[in-house]
């Protein structure tokens, strides 16, 4: 009997299994055939495990990078990359993340059903990442167990409806329709870029009326982009810190030529991110269709909030401009931090500057043409360089990971919770409950007005 109990408690304590069980229940509830239930459950669990294994691959490379950067520049170097920080967070916060993710999706459906925020957030990997962020910051703030899962889920559900809402006005301009919402957790910078475009863009022509060299699109392949930028940064860091330091760091008998070391380690990082992404893709492929199915049944007038590449085909030049200018903003921001001798220097993460910068470019172009795209993405680059500094103190031990969250909404949400947490865990409970209640009250009052 004791063995049976141990089986169940160990099973449920394993987050991959927990997620698998939830997917299993979801598939059975949808009356899927047995082979689909087996396939879906297995792939969800497998994906989660693959994701965790990816963390193991990239963590070593990140650690070496951090040590060498510290030696080279005397400050702590941080490379923001959502996949990296989430895979590390999942080591200790996996159960909470899985639970908060499930509750969050349920609350998103609830909010869409009963308030005016009719968005269903379908960008599964961002739901996962935001769940991880919330798990970490709320745990550090003192919440745990069911309190953590429910309050965390409420906040997640709220972000899933709220952030698409602030991106919606410009989103409608971009797509020319009201049918699709925007679901990507850097809406703060996208909204900002849209506003900047309105301010500076009078008379500015669209980015799409320009001619762009086609070869630049090789940067769209994320493995190439991460590999290249990490390689450049690693090379700079080993050259500045020097072969002698590397030898002493690696220890007697392990010496390696510093250039070879830089090439190997930077590509190991890129490899790790690739593995994490493969795992995330597998999990999301099982979770999102189920979520979409439930949402469509329960909230027929809901609007799907979709991933940022949705807007890329509308303005492919703005995509490239946004990326390059945002990246430039990131380099400028990093230079400023280095000159200020800040404790932590945020390095330009290529993936965030790509996806977030590109989107900021499209949003800026929609309201302000070329000027909007350029200024909007430059500001975006600066924001995602400076903002993480405010987040790192509230991440507990993860603030030492040499990587962090890279998109504005994760950072913003973390900063808000972290600040509230200073007044204790009940302050978090109170603030989240109040924020959660507001759209329901608003929705209820509006209905009464219409009646």
């Amino acid at each position: 009997m004791k063995d049976v109990l141990l089986f169940f408690s160990d099973l449920l304590a394993n987050p991959a299994m927990l997620l698998g069980i939830i997917v299993l229940i979801g598939l059975v509830a949808q009356r899927k055939p047995v082979h689909e239930v087996i396939r879906g459950t297995l792939k969800a669990v497998l994906g989660f495990i693959i994701l965790g294994q990816g963390a193991g691959v990239l963590v070593g490379s990140l650690e070496h990078f951090g040590v060498l950067f510290q030696e080279a520049f005397n400050v702590n170097g941080v490379v923001p990359n959502n996949e990296a920080i989430v895979s590390l967070a999942l080591k200790d916060y996996a159960t909470a993340t899985a639970a908060i993710m499930v509750f969050g999706m349920a609350f998103n459906i609830l909010i869409a059903r009963f308030t005016k925020m009719k968005f269903i957030f379908l960008t599964g990997h961002h739901t996962l990442y935001m769940a991880a962020l919330i798990s970490v910051v709320m745990t550090v703030g003192g919440l745990e167990s069911w309190g953590l899962y429910i309050i965390g889920g409420m906040l997640l559900g709220l972000t899933m409806a709220f952030f698409p809402m602030i991106a919606n006005p410009t989103m409608k301009k971009i797509t020319g329709s009201d049918e699709i919402g925007f679901g990507h957790f850097s809406s703060i910078t996208y909204w900002l870029s849209g506003e900047i475009g309105k301010l500076v863009g009078k008379g500015s022509k669209s980015t799409e009326e320009m001619n762009f060299p086609k070869w630049l699109s090789f940067l769209r392949d994320s493995s190439v982009a991460i590999g290249l930028t990490m390689l450049v940064m690693y090379l700079i860091v080993v050259i500045v810190s020097g072969q002698a330091y590397l030898d002493s760091y690696l220890g007697a008998g392990n010496e390696q030529n510093m250039i070879v070391f830089a090439i190997t380690q930077s590509l190991i990082f890129a490899a790790g991110v690739f593995i994490v992404l493969a795992g995330v893709r597998m999990v999301i492929a099982e979770v999102v269709p189920a979520f979409k199915g439930w949402a469509e049944k329960l909230v027929p007038d809901s609007k799907p909030a979709l991933d940022c590449p949705i807007v890329f085909p509308y303005a492919p030049n703005a995509v490239l401009i946004g990326f390059l200018v945002s990246f430039l903003g990131g380099i400028v921001g990093m230079a400023i931090l280095l000159l200020m001798k800040a404790d932590n220097v945020i390095l330009p993460g290529v993936i965030p500057h790509f996806f977030v910068g590109a989107t900021a470019g499209v949003f800026g172009n929609a309201t302000g043409g070329r000027r909007g795209a350029v200024i909007g993405s430059f500001v975006n680059g600066l924001v995602i360089t400076f903002l993480p500094l405010l987040l790192m103190p509230v991440l507990g031990e993860l603030s030492f990971a040499n990587t962090t969250f890279s998109d504005a909404d994760f950072i913003g949400t973390g900063i808000v919770i972290g600040t509230v947490a200073q007044w204790g865990k009940w302050a978090i409970v109170g603030v989240v409950s109040v924020l959660f209640a507001i759209p329901f009250v608003h929705g209820f009052l509006s209905k009464k007005q219409e009646a």
Binding site: H125, S217, V288
Partner: protein, 93 residues
């Protein structure tokens, strides 16, 4: 035509939704074609008989297989129109 691959930059959100739309259209046309989705990084020559992607990725995808670019990757009408034209041209419809 046996297989269609939907490709996007990250292989997570958009390509998956395009895959769902493509599957719906294929079913409406009464055809039997396998559809999958992936990211640009995992694509390889011969991955499918036809690749469908947003027109921002056309340059990247066309070296792997015949590629059908879309202006609005969520627009089922554009998708259906272009697929019908392509399939008619190939004698599949």
């Amino acid at each position: 035509m046996k297989k269609i691959a939907c490709i996007c930059g990250s292989g997570l959100g958009s390509s998956f939704l395009v895959e769902m739309n493509v599957k719906t259209v294929i079913k409406e046309l009464g055809l039997d074609i396998e559809v999958e989705h992936t990211d640009l990084g995992s694509a390889w020559p011969g991955i499918a008989d036809l690749i469908i992607c947003g027109n921002d990725l056309y340059e990247n995808c066309k070296r792997f297989a015949e590629t059908l670019p879309l202006s609005n990757i969520m627009d089922k009408n554009e998708l259906k129109g272009k697929l019908v034209d392509l399939f008619t041209e190939k004698g599949i419809l």
